[in-house]
Amino acid sequence: MLKKRLIPKLLIQHRQIGSMTRPVLVTTRQFDQSFDVGDPVSQAKIYQAQMADELIVLNIDRTPIGSDELLLGIIERLASETFMPLAVGGGVSSAEDFGRLLDHGADKVVINTVAAENPDIIDAAASQFGAQCVVVSIDYRRDADGTPRVHTDRASRRTGRSVVEWAHEAAQRGAGEIVLVDADRDGTGNGLDCALCAEVAYSLPIPVILSGGCGIASHFSDGFLDGGAEAISAGTFFAFRDQNPIQTRSHVRNSGIDIRMET
């Protein structure tokens, strides 16, 4: 039986150190404040040893990733020093960028703002690289009346679009997976948005990855059981809490959810 997945999320920013620019692993709170964690490749190796099922690697600097030698180099190192699936994104601008990221070792490409602004990129990438390669990530915030609205550009721009409607369009155009990120819960540890996830997941045939708000291990089992998520992704939780994918996995397993227990 197909197992549920735990996916550590590696957010990467460029840091100027003297005359050098270096990629630094960070976590964010509500997409705003960022906290340095350390080196992305060392952290990925730790996650691999802790049996993470997959990694999501995102450039959060709004720089074009397809021509960013520094980030492409990091992807290459991640692919050569770990043996787990890599979904990479942040600053993708064309279907050609998919090819560049795959050539550097990515297995899947995550698109967000570019897809919202130019949805045809989903069709183009899916027909060339296959639906399984196209991951559409949707950042959202809730209006005062509680309606979740799609936000783009690192959740800084409200689009007025319904999250459920956009997820359906993305799936129809050929997305292989949807990532839902509640920007207001990001980094807070207050729990996942299971209600919206369930609404999206139970109305779509493709897998939904839920993210934003994991603070304790039971938030993961909630996301699987109440949210219907196929996978849960977390950044701050795995980087800063006194928790790792092994302990989380054991909690999830003991909640009766089928999850990988040995490699």
Binding site: M51, D103, Q128
Partner: protein, 204 residues
């Protein structure tokens, strides 16, 4: 001397496969034309993208006659991965009906989604049951491998299904015809189980 030749026909995630074999300690080479098969002991045929796209790229590469000589006449070890496996079917029904290499017979058909229980694409870790022993995997044993696909291989005619997986329906996870082996999952992304599987192939 083990030297792994990875067929580079511009339709595959070659880097990860290369890294996995180098991690095991093998020399690897990229093979872009038939003459480069000289000195190679094991061939890997990767594949990412649509069936027809990969088939066309492979035909255009000019390497097909040499690969058929290698696999079907000389019976030397060859491993197909993901779409590299699917190409070995008689036909593939992704985006139209296309002829495959027909090394194994059988068909590549879409997986059928079934509400929240069976989602397609089939993404993630699923267990493979080995019906025949392969390397360190004994007959009847199970292990989790990483899958990422919407189409699957059914009913090989000339080869045998030695590993089965279930996602709504049973499909062939590993097929084998002599020294030609092919896997639907990504051994190069499957951590320890994947490395053990690749070691099984290298033992051929």
């Amino acid at each position: 001397m083990t030297v792994v030749g990875i067929i580079d026909y511009r339709a595959g995630n070659i880097r990860s496969i290369r890294n996995a074999f180098e991690h095991i300690g093998c020399e690897t080479r990229l093979v872009t034309e038939a003459a480069e098969l000289d000195g190679i002991s094991h061939v890997v045929l990767p594949g990412v993208g649509a069936f027809a796209f990969c088939m066309q790229r492979l035909s255009e590469s000019g390497m097909l006659p040499a690969l058929e000589q290698w696999a079907l006449v000389e019976h030397r070890p060859l491993l197909g991965i993901c779409v590299g496996m699917q190409l070995m079917a008689r036909r593939g029904l992704e985006l139209g009906d296309h002829a495959g290499l027909n090394w194994m017979g059988g068909k590549v058909l879409p997986l059928v989604a079934n509400g929240a229980r069976v989602r397609v694409p089939h993404v993630g870790w699923n267990d493979v049951t080995f019906d025949d022993p392969f390397g360190a995997f004994t007959a009847g044993s199970k292990a989790d491998f990483y899958f990422d696909h919407s189409f699957a291989f059914f009913d090989p005619e000339f080869g045998e299904t030695i590993g089965r997986c279930t996602h709504g329906q049973d499909f062939a996870a590993v097929v084998r015809r002599g020294n030609v082996v092919a896997a639907q999952f990504h051994p190069e992304k499957s951590q320890d189980a994947g490395i053990r599987f690749l070691e099984g192939f290298l033992a051929l």
